[in-house]
Each structure stands twice: as C-alpha cells, then as structure tokens.
C-alpha cells in the first residue's frame, strides 16, 4: 500500500529519471529484480519495495496527466462542430490517479473522490505567463457561434484535471496548418516554446522535491464556458518537438515496463498512445483553454513524437495485431513522418509476413440447431406429453429467434411488445425440469452457433451495404455507430452511473437476442437450468482434448467466452444497479454477500490451467465472466483470490508469444474495468498470496494436451475475435485517416476474419465406479504410462464408442423388441381375463422383472459380440510398431472397458421402472380397446412390405377406389352395363393392387374390401346376368386370401363397438353384411328378383364356407331384418334365401360335428328355420 509519502518519492524518481539524473539501467534492474542502486535508494529511502510495484502505475498516470490538457482539446473531425466541454458527461474521472492508490480500502467512490492533484497544484504554482496576443500569433480563424462538441467516449482521459482557468491569459501553442501559416508565426511559436517549456519542467521538478511533505489541496475552479470555433488543427512537426531527450527516456521506460509486463493496462496504454498519435487540436482552442505549456506532453508535436517512438518500440505487440490495423498504421502520415524507417522497413515486412488465410474457414450456412436423435428424441424425455410440449417449445423458440432476426433492425420495433408474451409462454409452457433442461440446452446450442457466426467489422463488406453509404455520406455517424458496437463498454461515461444499462451493453449483435430473451422470459427456473447448462458446457470445453487443431481451438475459445459471458450475466445481472451506490449501501450489500459463492470455481480453473499449460484456453473466458461483475462483487474477499491469481499470471506466466499476447491483452482489459480493485494491482508478487501448489488430484489425470507453449494455435484473427475491443485501435486510426483530407479515400482496408462454426454436444459422462485401486489397475496405469499417450487415448476412445454403440442397440433394438413381446403377452393375458371375467393379479410387476432380466442378458450378449471387432479396429488405429503383445493387452483392456461401460449403463438404466411405464400404458390401451385393430392390420401390411416387390404396372390404390366408386354409382343411378369380363378384370386388378404394391395403407385396403363387396352385391342386385356362381366364388376366394383374419377381426370389431348405445346397432360390424335393411332395400329394386336372390344365397353360402361369415352372424342379420316391416313379396324371397342357408348348413353339420364339436358359433338352434317359416306366412 502506498502512502502519500512514497507516492511523492516515486514521482520524484520519475522526474529525475526523465531528466536523465538517474540512469535508466538502474531503474530497469530495480524494477526487474528489486536490486536498488544508490541513486534510487537516495531518493526513495526505505520505500523502495513499496514503490517498486506501484511505479508502473504511477508512470502511466504521469503520462496521462502530462497529456491530459492536450487530449482534452482533441476533436475528431476538424470540420465538425465542437461541443461545450463542460456539457459532456464526466468522462475524465475514470483513470486511477496517484492518490487513489493511497486509499487504504477499496471504496466505490475511490475514483471520484480524492483528487488531490498535487502535481497539478505544483504546476499551478509556477504558471508561465507568456503574453503573446493571439492576433499577432495566428492568422484569423473562422469564427462560429457557440457550438456543441459531440461527447467523445474515450476511457483514457486522465484524471479530472481542470486546469487553465479561462481568466488566464492565452498562450500560443502549436502551429496551424491550414489556412497556410505564415513563416513568422512559426518563429513566434518556437520562441515561445524555448522560453517556456524547459523552465516549467525544471521548476516543477524542483518544487516537487521541496514540497514532498506539504500537502494542501487546492480547489480548482471548473472550466467555464468555452466559446469555441470551427477549427483547423495543428499538424505535428518534428522540428517543434521539445524535450527530445526526456521524451526518449520516457519512451524507453514505458517500453521497458510494457515488455516486462509491469504495466497491467496493456490494452489501455496502446490505445492511449494511439490517441496521442492521432490528436487533433485547434490552435484557437488551445490558445483559449490551455495557455500554459509546461509539461512534457503539453503540445501536439511532443505527443505525437512520444507516441510514435513508443509505438515503434512495442514490436512484440504488432506481430499479433490484425493486418488491417497494421495497414492503418503504415498509412498514417504522422508515423511516416516520425518513424519513416520503422514504417517502411520493419512494419512493412511484418505486414507482408502475416498470412491471413491461415485458419481454413468452414463456411457455415445453417444457423439453426440440428436435431440430434441421441439427445433430442423421445427417449430423452420422461413422458410423451413432456416430449410433445418440448416439440412445441423448440419450434416456438426458433420462431422467436427468426422473428427477432427479421425485426430487430427496425428502429420502431420493440422486442418486449413483440415477443415477450411468446417468450414467456414458451419458456414456462411446461413447468418441468426435463423441459427446462432441454430448453436451456437448445438455447445454449443456438447461442454457440450464433457466436461462431458473429461478423467482424469489415470495411469491405460495409462498402456495399448501408454502412458503406454511410461511410461516404456521414462518416462521423458511422464512427459513432461503430463506437457503440466496438468500443469497450466501460469506455462509456455511463458506466459509473448506469451499471444496469451497462451490463446489458456488453452484448452486441445477435447476442442481444439471447440477453433479452433471458430478461423477458423472467423465469427463475429457466435461468437456473441455463446456468447449469452453461457450467457444464464450460467444464466440458475447458477440459476438452479436442484442441489440437487450430480451428477447433478457436471454436472452443470463442464458445467458452460466450458461455462464460452469459453465465456472468445470469449471475451478476441481479446485482446490477442503475444508481451509483452510496458507500453505506455498498458496504451493506458487501456484507450480505460475504459468504456468497461464485457459481464457478474460478481459482480452481486458473490453477488447473496454469499447471496443465492451458491458460490460453481458460483465461479468455474467465475474463469474459469477470468483466460483467458488479462493483460489489469485485470487493468480495472470495473474488480477490481469483483476481490475485490472474494478476500473478499477467506478470509471470510464460507462454508462446501469441498466446501470451492473447492472455495479457485480455487480462489488461479486465484490470481496466472501472470496478476493478486497483489496490491489488499495486501488490507485490508475495503479497498476492497466490497458491499454485499442486494438489494431487491434478497430478493424476495429465493426459490433456498442453497448449500454452504451442506456437500455432493463436493468430491475430482469433485474438481480435476474442478481444473485439482491439478494433478500437484500428478505428482510432481509421477515424483519423477518414477525417484527414489528404488520406481520405485511402486507408480503408479490411481483412476478413474467418469464422468457424462449433457443434456443441455434450459428451455423456459415463458412470464411474468409485476408484478403488487394485493391483490390476495400477498395472494398467503403468502400462499406459510407458506407452505413447495416443495409445491410451485410442483404447479409451474405441471402448467408449463401442460401448455407446452397444447401448444404442440396447435402446433401439433390444428394448423395443422385448417390450413388444411383453405387450403381446400382456394382450394374451388380458384376453384370457376377459373370458373368465376375473381380474385379480396385476401382471405388470412380474412382467417388468422378467423383461429387465431378459434385457440385461441380451445386452451382455450384445456387448460380447461387439467386442469381437475390437482387435481389427485397434490394429488399424494403434501405431504399427507396437509389439503384438502390447496390442493384445490393449485389446483386452478395451474389451474390459467396453464391458464395464455397458454394464454400468445397464445397471443404471435397465430397471423395472424402465418398462413399467410402457406396460401400464399398454394395459390402459387394452382396457380402452382402442387402436387394436389398427395395430393388427398395420403390422400385417408392414410385414407384406418387406416381402412384396413393387409392381408399378398394377393400378394405384387411389385410382382403383375411384374406379370402383364410379362403377357402383353408375350401376345404381344410371343402370350402366358391366360385362362379366369387366368384373373379372376388376378382380384381377384389385388383387394385383393389394398383393403387388407397397403403397397400400391399411385404411385403403379396408376401403377396397368394402367397395369390392359393395360392388359385387350391387351387381347381384342390378345386373344378375353379369354375375355367375363362378364370379361369386372367385371373389370370395380372393377376399379370403386377402383378408384372412376377417372372421376374427369381426369378432374384435365387436369389442370396438361395445360402448355404443344398446339397440343402436347389431354387435357385429363385419363388412360382409348381406341380409341387412339396406341390402334388402336394394334387393327390392331388383328387376329380376329371383336371380338376384339366388345369387345372394350363393354369396352367403360361400362366405360361410370360407369362414368369412359365421352361421351365427347370418342369424343375427336375419333377426334384425324381421324387426322391420317389409312387403310380403320381399319377405317370402327372404324366407327362401334363409331356408337355403339352413339347408346348406344342415348338410354340412354331420361333417363338422366330429371336427369341431365345441364350435358354439355354428350350432343350429333352429332360430333361422323358424324365421324362414315365419316370414313365408302370407298373413304376416
């Protein structure tokens, strides 16, 4: 912790250093390893260790303070109207000041209070009063009325330095480029510089030394109204740079600190340097607002010089920056002017050496989540209704997403109005954990798909679209749009006052949909499941082995980042506040959350990553997560350990250069968050109390590939994809180029970033038996230890896949088959119960037990047969130089593993409960007697399918139906003639269709049965001359061939109609209705009734003969007929017909008596004889 005194010491050291009084080398050594040179010791006395770690921070602040006065005047667009400075929000208060560091405890207000401003104060003591009147110094500038300056959103602006009260006399500073400056102005200017600047610097330093102990805080009046002008800006010129040596030393110091990772705000510093580089200041404004030129970086020339020199020295940075940014730098006229060698030589070489096509892009055209039967089918749901509900949820989710996609760009569209109802109803459509879990999974998958598709800011693309037009018509608007998208959220001034807005601001593009979906759904249950889903996703990918490939690695890094971001959102969003929290409330909230646990063990992940060499994979997502943290969280003790570990990693971790850059630039972004506790950054390595000791659990599983040293994983594309804030560098430069008349039209280049899709799939975690290490296991472990790592991976992979295949077979083949068998036996049981009218025992329990046993046995068999293929598989996959014995061992291990996995699965899943549901449902179905016939006939048809070879020459069933229908209609209504040949053809056609086609559905088959029967009957009635006994015989034979189970199914149909009102209908609903009222009505219309009735008798006899109709059925039909009144003539014909049947039946009796004595159906109880006699009576 720095005291005020040590701060002052450090400042003194800095001044001496820059002035050259202390050698840079000594400071470098001291900063590197703490060895203190005499000179330093003299200055710092006993504060050396304290100062050492805070020195870089002080340096950074010093730079910002030095340049603040100029930066404040920076205007982006010279042709743009400028704004009243004081009207812009308080954007200048974000940076740590020297004094913040001395505050003992983190305070929410630390950034806003304590503007001690001692350096400022000292500077104020010795103002330079150069009284050069502006009229003399500058040519007249265009005047304009009081105008506004568009508030700039830069986070780099230094501490709230309000200097140069308006009352002070103006001081000329800088030169104007246009309109063309007259030579004497330059002279005047340089004269002024020579007089003013060195003196002020020296004096300031001297004063600082003197006033170490005296601290008074002056109140500085805020800058008042500032009437500004439309302006031209000062062009930097090497000739006007003052303090060259000091600036060189300062630059070397900064460069050293950056290269040794001493400056924690890497991103920010470079951004700052670029801001200095592109600074544009109006001479008039400068004159008005900034009359003194007292500091090192108080003028444009010095700023640009310092920036250019320092940027040049940061070689390690530029090789990781994307080529389009580099190109902007190469085209920057100021850099060309100040560092021509670097630009023309090294940077150009670097630029041409960067290969942009390194990562092979996979064109992803599908942005929707594919249905995976493995995870999404019916087996993954507890019930049918759950499954059906989720089907709806899935479609509605997609609908909402599509809806958002097509509407979100319409400014007047409001997502809450448009979609909230739909979102809420879909999320809570079924309040069931299974549905929530599936929905969360869908949400996550869609999110990851989209994340991989996020497009970079790409000028090339913009040129064609609306943005391209904007670029030419209103570049400033485009700049502001870009800024909103690209610039770091916390660079916005609203961050401090509008935390609520801001956590939402972290999401851009399509991610906004997912953010708003969560907010609008407002479903705690969904949020909880989503958290779990994200957590498991993070866990899976963090420990993923599948990162060897560069594209895969990039996918994983990005997926992890997005998941972590949303996890952070879910976790921190409830803690967001739109207000600035007063200190007492802040501390109260802090106390409330003191024992709150993070949903994710960050320290654990960091440690593990550190040891396994996977920081490059893990740090980016941890940063994404932490960036969303609220101010209170950052002050929780539980949080600090994670932050300390990260700081330590920033300082010390050794990674391959690109990996290191990715890790450090991400971390520096985190450290710059406005809520980040700065005190931690000033801690010494020891004070961080970082525990990187190995705990033994980590040592066991060390098979994961180490990534941190890998040189080919990370490229500028990935870095920019992971750290989109880096684009702001390019945009600063582009903005400059854009507004610069000379370079406009150039400097807009782009590079397309490649986006690779990810398919996120949960790897099902196999059930693990608690590890009791046996000798065999140790042997196995040792065996693999001494083989190449790939051997173990291969064996495990093969075993895993084989086991998975077996499990799949069990699920899709064995279980359904056995369940079906069980259902059949259940049916038999049920039927037998029906007959005896006694329902006593529930068979489901015992059937379940039996089934379970069967499935387990069959599964074991299936596993055994699957294992047979292991040897050939492994031979193909293992290295060829393995000893045969080693291979054998591998085969046996893989076999065992497979067996174990299958058995584990069976133990867990194949239980009595698994079948209970199915069987109970089946029983319920049987009770309802529904679907019975359907399944029966469907299975008959399906069986046919496998045997039948489709004959396309046969008539299509629909055509045949139409034909029959038309024929029947014509015969009844129009008395159309049908020849015997027609009938025969029709028979063979029908038979062909039903026997030799695969496109006949059960319902159609049934319909044809009905129609053919109707057709034949109607012919018998209306055209008996076309029908002979032969014809009837042929048809009946056909029916009995085609519909063999008719008699049985008619019995079954009896069940179907059980529920019908009594008396409404005879119980037999068989198709073969010969003697019913309708048929008799038809017969009454016959023109040759004798022939017709003869045929009907024949038909009845044949139907009975072929078992399509039972004698009993005829009885029933006949009884129903006589319930109604009929003309006597018809009745007597009916009587004759019935008599014929009775006679025929009697003639059959003796034979059938011996063969089937129990056949109740065919017992002649004399009813029909009586009916026949009865109907024949004339006087009825």
């Amino acid at each position: 912790m720095l005291t005020v005194q040590s701060t002052t010491c450090a400042m003194a050291l800095l001044f001496d250093l820059v002035a050259g009084d202390i050698s840079l080398i000594h400071v470098f050594t001291w900063l590197t390893n703490g060895t203190v040179h005499e000179d330093i010791k003299g200055l710092l006395k006993n504060e050396t260790e304290n100062v050492r770690y805070s020195f870089p921070l002080l340096l950074v602040n010093f730079l910002k303070e030095q340049s603040s006065s100029v930066l404040k005047l920076h205007n982006v667009n010279p042709h743009q109207k400028s704004n009243n400075l004081s009207s812009s929000p308080k954007k200048d208060i974000l940076l740590p000041t020297v004094n913040n560091l001395s505050l003992g405890s983190p305070s929410p207000n630390s950034r806003n209070v304590g503007n001690c401003q001692e350096t400022r104060r000292i500077r104020k003591v010795t103002p330079q009063r150069l009284d050069l009147s502006s009229d003399l110094a500058f040519p007249s500038l265009q005047q304009s009325a009081h105008t506004k300056e568009i508030p700039k959103k830069r986070r780099i602006n230094p501490t709230q330095l309000v200097d140069s009260p308006v009352s002070r006399p103006p001081l000329e500073f800088g030169s104007c480029s246009k309109p063309s400056p007259s030579p004497n102005i330059r002279n005047v200017f340089s004269q002024a510089k020579e007089q003013a600047s060195p003196k002020s610097f020296d004096q300031e330093r001297a004063l600082l030394k003197e006033k170490k102990q005296q601290l008074t805080i002056p109140t500085i009046p805020d800058l008042g109204n500032n009437t500004s002008k439309t302006w031209t800006c000062i062009e930097p010129d090497l000739n006007f740079v003052t303090h060259l040596k000091e600036l060189d030393r300062l630059s070397a110091l900064v460069s050293f600190c950056v290269s040794r990772n001493l400056i924690s705000s890497l991103y920010n510093e470079i951004q700052f340097l670029i801001q200095l580089l592109v600074i544009r200041v109006s001479p008039a404004k400068l004159k008005q607002a900034h009359p003194t030129a007292s500091g090192l970086l108080d003028n444009v020339h010095n700023c640009v010089y310092f920036s250019a020199k320092t940027l040049e020295s940061l070689e390690d940075v530029w090789c990781h920056v994307d080529p389009s940014t580099l190109q902007q730098m190469m085209r920057n006229p100021r850099l060309i002017l100040f560092c021509p060698e670097w630009i023309n030589d090294k940077l150009t070489k670097l630029f041409s050496s960067i290969k942009t096509e390194d990562r092979i892009p996979q064109q992803k055209t599908v942005a929707n989540v594919a249905f995976q039967s493995e995870t999404d089918n019916r087996f993954n749901f507890a019930s049918d209704s759950s499954f059906q509900f989720f089907r709806k949820q899935r479609d509605q989710f997609c609908e909402v997403w599509q809806n958002w996609k097509s509407n979100s760009s319409i400014p007047s569209w409001n997502m809450a109005l448009g979609l909230q109802k739909m979102i809420q109803s879909l999320v809570d459509l079924r309040r069931d954990c299974v549905n929530y879990a599936h929905l969360a999974r869908l949400f996550r998958s869609q999110l990851l798909n989209v994340a991989q598709l996020v497009k970079p800011m790409n000028n090339q693309e913009e040129q064609d679209g609306p943005l391209g037009q904007l670029q030419s018509s209103d570049p400033d608007k485009l700049r502001r749009l870009r800024e909103r998208l690209i610039n770091p959220p916390d660079s916005r001034p609203t961050r401090c006052v509008g935390v609520d807005n801001d956590i939402k601001m972290c999401f851009e593009g399509d991610q906004e949909f997912f953010r708003d979906f969560i907010i609008l759904a407002a479903s705690p249950s969904f949020n909880e499941h989503l958290k779990s889903s994200l957590l498991s996703g993070i866990e899976d990918l963090s420990s993923s082995e599948d990162v060897d490939d560069r594209a895969q690695f990039a996918e994983n890094v990005i997926a992890l980042q997005v998941m972590a971001k949303f996890l952070g959102f879910l976790h921190f969003y409830p803690h967001a506040s739109a207000d600035h929290l007063p200190e007492h409330i802040f501390h109260h909230l802090g106390r409330l959350r003191i024992s709150q646990r993070e949903p994710i063990d960050l320290v654990g992940y960091i440690k593990e990553a550190f040891h396994k060499g996977r920081l490059v994979l893990v740090v980016p997502w941890i940063v994404s997560y932490l960036t969303l943290a609220d101010p209170v969280s950052f002050c929780l003790p539980g949080f600090h350990s994670a932050l300390c570990h990260l700081i330590f990693i920033y300082r010390k971790a050794e990674l391959a250069p690109a990996n290191a850059f990715l890790v450090r630039i991400s971390l520096s972004w985190l450290f710059d968050q406005p809520n980040f506790p700065l005190t931690l950054l000033a801690k010494s390595d020891d004070e961080l109390v970082v525990e990187f000791r190995l705990n033994h659990s980590l040592a066991v599983d060390d098979q994961l590939p180490r990534l941190d040293q890998s040189k080919y994983l990370v490229d500028p594309n990935l870095i920019h994809q992971c750290c989109p804030f880096l684009w702001s560098w390019k945009h600063l430069l582009a903005e400059f180029a854009c507004s610069d008349a000379k370079s406009s039209g150039e400097g807009k280049i782009s590079v397309s970033r490649k986006i690779t899709p990810v398919s996120a799939e949960d790897s099902p975690s196999p059930v693990k038996v608690p590890a009791v290490k046996s000798l065999q296991q140790s042997l196995e472990e040792n065996f693999f230890q001494n083989q190449p790592a790939s051997v173990k991976r291969t064996v495990e992979f093969v075993a895993e896949r084989l086991a998975s295949n077996v499990v799949r077979d069990v699920r899709h083949q064995i279980i359904p088959r056995l369940v079906q068998n069980a259902q059949t036996s259940l049916k038999t049981w049920r039927n037998s119960i029906d007959d005896r009218q006694s329902i006593n025992k529930d068979p489901v329990e015992s059937l379940c037990r039996q089934l379970c046993l069967q499935v387990r046995n069959e599964s074991a068999l299936s596993a055994t047969s699957a294992v047979a293929s292991i040897e050939s598989t492994l031979t193909a996959l293992l290295p060829n130089d393995l000893l045969p014995q080693v291979k054998r061992v591998c085969v046996s291990i893989a076999s065992n593993l497979t067996h174990v996995k299958v058995v584990d699965w069976i133990q867990l899943h194949v239980t009595n409960g698994l079948f209970k549901n199915d069987l109970e449902i089946e029983l319920a179905k049987l009770d309802k007697n529904v679907n019975r016939r359907l399944t029966l006939s469907a299975s008959v048809i399906n069986d046919n399918h496998s045997l039948v070879v489709h004959d396309p020459t046969t008539l299509a069933p629909s055509f045949l139906i139409e034909r029959l229908k038309t024929l029947i209609r014509q015969v009844i209504r129009d008395a159309a003639k049908v020849t015997g040949q027609d009938v025969a053809e029709l028979l063979s056609n029908t038979e062909g269709t039903l026997q030799r086609r695969v496109d006949v559905t059960p319902a159609v088959s049934k319909c044809l049965q009905q129609l053919t029967f109707d057709f034949l009957f109607i012919l018998c009635v209306f055209q008996p001359e076309s029908v002979g006994t032969e014809t009837i015989l042929a048809w009946v034979e056909f029916w009995s061939r085609t519909y063999p189970s008719s008699a049985e199914s008619s019995a079954m149909a009896t069940l179907e109609t059980e529920e019908q009102p009594p008396g409404a209908l005879m119980s037999n609903t068989s198709i073969w209705q010969v003697l019913t009222p309708k048929q008799l009505l038809l017969l009454a219309q016959s023109t040759s009734p004798r022939d017709s009735w003869t045929l009907v008798s024949t038909l009845l006899v044949q139907l009975i003969k072929f078992d399509l109709l039972r004698y009993k059925d005829v009885q029933e039909q006949a009884v129903a007929v006589v319930r109604q009144e009929w003309p006597q003539e018809l009745l007597s014909r009916f009587a004759t017909c019935v008599r014929d049947i009775v006679d025929w039946h009697r003639s059959q009796q003796p034979k059938s008596e011996s063969s089937c004595p129990d056949n109740e159906d065919d017992v002649d109880d004399g009813l029909l004889s009586w009916l026949s006699w009865f109907c024949a009576q004339d006087d009825l």
């Binding site: 055209t365 599908v366 929707n368 989540v369 594919a370 249905f371 039967s373 999404d376 089918n377 019916r378 087996f379 989720f390 089907r391 899935r394 479609d395 997609c398 609908e399 599509q402 996609k405 097509s406 899709h812 359904p816 299509a956 069933p957 629909s958 139906i961 139409e962 229908k965 029947i968 209609r969 009844i972 209504r973 695969v998 496109d999 006949v1000 559905t1001 319902a1003 159609v1004 049934k1006 319909c1007 009905q1010 129609l1011 109707d1014 179907e1056 109609t1057 529920e1059 019908q1060 009102p1061 409404a1064 209908l1065 005879m1066 609903t1069 198709i1071 209705q1073 019913t1076 009222p1077 309708k1078 009505l1081 038809l1082 129903a1120």
Partner: protein
C-alpha cells in the same frame, strides 16, 4: 402439362372456380385452361371446396339447421320421394353430400338427451352403410358417399392413398438415384419429434442449394396451403435439420419461396433430376 402456375393465372383460375356450379367443375375448367394439368385442376377445385366447407360448415350444421334438414328429409321419405333425397338437399343447401349425410345420421342417432352420438358409431356407420338400421337412410347415405369427392370415408381413403402413393414413389425415385435416406417410419421409431417424409442421411444439392430433407405433398401448393404447412411442418423441419425441399406433386403458385425470407426451403413439383451428390464434382 404445366403444374407451376403464375399468380395471375391462378387468380383467374380461382375466379372461374368460384363462378362455376359445384358439379363437374373440372371438366369445364379443362376447357378453359387447356394448358394446366387435370390433376392440378382437380386439386384446385377440391381445395376450393374444402375452404368453402371450412367457412360455412359451422353455420350450416347448427342443431337448428340440421333439425330443419332432418325434418325435410323425413317428410320426403314419408312422401316416398325418389331416392337421392339427400343429394338434392345437398345441392340446395351447400353442404357437400357426405357432410350432410353425416349430420343427418348424427341427428337420427341422437341420444335421448338430444346430444350427439359417439363419433366412433357415426364413422363406423359411414364406413359401412349396411349397418344403418334405417334402410332408407342407409341407402340415401350411400348415394351421398358415392357422389362426394372431398368428404366421407371413400374420399378420405382416396386422398390418403394418393398422399401415400406419392410418398412411396418419392422413396423409390430416391432409391433409384442411390440417395441414402431415412423415411418417416424410421424416424418415428428413432423417436424424432418431427418427421419429414424423407430425411437425407447424406445431403444433396439442388440448383446450388443444399437440402437435408424432402416433404412430399400430393396436392396443389397455393399461398394459404403453403403457409399452413410452413407453420405446422416445414419450419419445424428447417429448425431441426436445416434447408430442405417440398414437392407439390400437383403444382404450385410461382414465387411461393419468397415467403420464407432467409429460411431456405425449395419448392418443386417433382423430384429434381439435377441433384448433386457429395463427392461428385461437376
């Protein structure tokens, strides 16, 4: 014979359909639109009829309305009118014959509390009119079913059969092209929640567009029909399997694809012959 119809042709076709009397419209239309295939015309007429029924069925079958019709029917029977009573009533009233017959049966078999009989009973009676115990009603109903091409068990069976026949035809054509696919029944066994007729196990490209599934529709695709399918089926498939193809075997109105916006679902009237397969470089 063209099956892809331009918007203007379609609207003039619809105009004619509306103007013509219900019976035998197809024959008249064939003369008016000689270039269009008969199947297309049949389909358009059928769809118009179904739409008309959808709109008026409720109004025409209120219990009061049916009571009036039933009484007229009874009256005609008692007057021993020529058979075809219900057909004539149908012509007069606008309900299709089969729908009218169904309503009359429902009235005839109404329960003692005047509520409708079980649906199963009614459908069994319609399937086999010989089971209707009133001989006149049985015969009248049968005549109605023979006349109706849109409703009733025979018409339903025909429509169902056509749908299935084209599905099978599609499967066979795909097999001929050696495209590997799973069909609906496979998918159902595998527990899919939404099952297109064909899910391509290996995607193919049609006219530069990758497709992953095919849905067969043995009817004519106009905007209303297509929107209905998009909502209930096609978008669901797209959501799950990505871009796909729907075949309207009896044709469709041009430019329907524009409805989809960015969701690619191709529309054709037959299986495209220019499919490009994976690994085939041409």
């Amino acid at each position: 014979m063209a099956r892809v119809v331009s918007k203007t042709t379609y609207s003039s076709l619809l105009d004619s359909v509306y103007k013509l009397p219900y019976r035998n419209r197809v024959q008249t239309l064939q003369k008016l639109f000689p270039k269009l295939s008969v199947d297309t015309l049949k389909c358009v007429v059928a769809q118009e009829c179904q739409r008309r029924m959808k709109g008026s069925h409720g109004r025409l079958t209120t219990s009061d309305a049916i009571e009036v019709l039933y009484n007229r029917y009874k009256n005609s029977i008692s007057m021993s009118e020529e058979p075809g009573i219900l057909l004539r009533l149908s012509d007069e009233n606008g309900l299709t014959p089969a729908l009218l017959a169904r309503s009359i049966i429902e009235r005839h078999y109404q329960k003692s509390d005047k509520s409708k009989p079980a649906k199963l009973l009614v459908s069994t009676l319609l399937k086999n009119t010989a089971l209707i115990d009133d001989r006149d009603l049985a015969f009248e109903t049968y005549l109605c079913l023979l006349e109706d091409d849109e409703y009733g068990p025979i018409a339903e069976a025909t429509k169902q059969s056509i749908g299935y026949e084209y599905e099978i035809r599609l499967r066979m054509e795909l097999e001929k092209c050696q495209v590997s696919f799973l069909h609906e029944e496979h998918l159902r066994v595998k527990g899919y929640d939404k099952t297109p007729d064909i899910k391509l196990e290996i995607p193919v490209a049609v006219d530069g567009q990758v497709i992953n599934w095919i849905e067969s529709k043995a009817l004519f695709g106009d905007e209303e029909v297509h929107r209905g399918y998009l909502k209930d089926q096609l978008y669901s498939y797209w959501n799950r399997f990505g871009p796909g193809l729907v075949i309207y075997w009896f044709g469709y109105v041009e430019d329907l694809e524009k409805i989809h916006q960015n969701r690619t679902i191709l529309i054709r009237d037959a299986l495209p012959i220019n499919m490009i397969f994976m690994g085939q470089h041409s």
